[in-house]
């Protein structure tokens, strides 16, 4: 049995899977963010706390994210656009999945790089054409992976990563989003 190490504690995940299969309440997580408008289309979103395994928890450090728009949108570009954060999420989720699946399957990774491109017709959000949707028309992800594995095995890693990806699901399937004012 090869002892490869991609740095993923797969055993912990497999143990968690077994325990949580019988304890659905413990498996309920709530990820949270708080946000404040700065000026114009610039806002700051802070993430530190989340709820999971029955308790409020927090990350080791506070994370602060600026969102703004670039100059072509007549804005000062104090941060990436909100929609670009989705590309961050997708890349992070799929990459983590590739590493985890590779660990589980005994495949040693040497490098994993990806490019994510979200094609977007901005007439939608500008209200210039009601037949154009607000979100992406489509997203294309390209992976370059160097690993001790055949091409077929590498393709299978990437396919399995999508199958179990939170962000992939959030983007490809409908999600209820409700917004209220208090």
């Amino acid at each position: 049995m090869t002892t490869i190490d991609n740095g993923v504690n797969v055993q912990a995940l497999l143990d968690a899977r077994e325990v949580l299969a019988g304890a659905p309440e413990a498996a309920q997580f709530t990820w949270k963010a708080t946000s404040k408008w700065t000026n114009g289309v610039h806002s700051q979103t802070t993430i530190q706390n989340f709820f999971g395994l029955g308790e409020e928890r927090s990350h080791k450090a506070v994370a602060v994210f600026d969102a703004d728009h670039p100059e072509v949108f007549a804005a000062p570009d104090n941060g990436i656009t909100p929609i670009e954060y989705l590309l961050v999420g997708l890349a992070g989720c799929l990459t983590a999945g590739v590493a985890s699946v590779a660990q589980n399957r005994g495949i040693q990774l040497r490098s994993v790089e990806s490019t994510v491109e979200g094609n977007h017709d901005i007439r939608g959000i500008l209200g210039a054409d009601s037949d154009v949707r607000n979100g992406f028309n489509d997203i294309k992800v390209t992976f370059q992976i160097d690993a001790d594995a055949s091409r077929q095995e590498i393709e299978a890693l990437v396919a399995q990563s999508q199958k179990r990806s939170a962000v992939f699901d959030a983007l490809t399937n409908p999600t209820e989003v409700s917004v209220e004012v208090v």
Partner: protein
Amino acid sequence: MLERGEVGNSWRRERWDSLRLLTPNWQSRLPGLPYEGSDPDGYMTAAEVGELIARFAAGAPVRTGTAVTSLRRSEDAYELTTGQGELRARTVVIATGACNAPVVPSLASALPAKVRQLTAFAYRNPAQLPDGGVLVVGASATGVQLAAELYESGRPVVLAVGEHVRLPRTYRGRDVLWWMDASGVWDQRYDELDDLPRARRLPSPQLVGTSERTTLDLNALTTRGIELVGRWAAIRDSRALFSGGLRNVCSLADLKMERLLDTFDEWAETSDTAPERFAPTELPRPPRLEIDLRNGEIRSILWATGYRPDYSWLDLPVVDKKGHLRHGGGVVVDSPGLYALCLPVLRRRKSTFIHGIEDDARDVVDHLSAYLAGEARAPGYALARE
């Protein structure tokens, strides 16, 4: 043996008219009843399967027209209430199978009333549906077969595709199910599989039994003119919303098929025929993500979204929260003397195929005989290998 209807009831009453087995005739054998007809590579109709089972059952102690409405335990025996009276038994084998009722997603209840809905369970032939477009939901064997049949009837067809199992009908000149049998894949035991729950949930492979031995995968459907969309994820304002992950489920199925063909090639080592590989699944560019169900494009929906067992008559705590029987290789958990047969990968990958029942039945009966003879077995005893 208790049978609520007639021998081979499901084959005679609960299958669509044009149904044929996925397994070739030479493979559809029962103990003492090998295929002796003139078309070994053909595929039996549902009626012919009913007749085969009736021939096999000749002389067996079957009580037909006897539905079990309750099975419970009292002291050291099982008590059954049937339409023909009460029975007691020391051992019971549940052989009702896993396909007693159709599974329909909950979003069905949100559909506009003017769109006709039918399950594969109730489907018999295209005449039951109105003219016009059909949305077939599910890309299992049933889904692809009914999509093709409805398209042939002159209706536009859209097929919603989630995870599925792709296979060629023939491989290197032989039926693909010959390979499954000969290479030993079908004999893989339940306790040797990496992910047994997943293996038990697999949809039936995309095959059809025709004399031309045509492959009926998604590419074949696209060539005929059927439109593919992703898994039906939700309905909003009478719009059906389909997953944007269609490319991935097709890649998963293509890769899985390739791995299986690799297994066949490795087993075959050398031969006079060359390995074959098949084109990746092609998709519309781009696939549609939604269909407005009010605009008349879709006049009916055919649910090919699977089946579930019905254990409503089973008054014992042996069914899990997902409605499945808790068993270890056919020995029901925590209920001595209670067994099951005819469930997916009960003991082997071939468990739910006609020829596959024999080995499972012999194993279960061995355990049952030992139980009746009073030999102690630990709870959850895994049946010994030969």
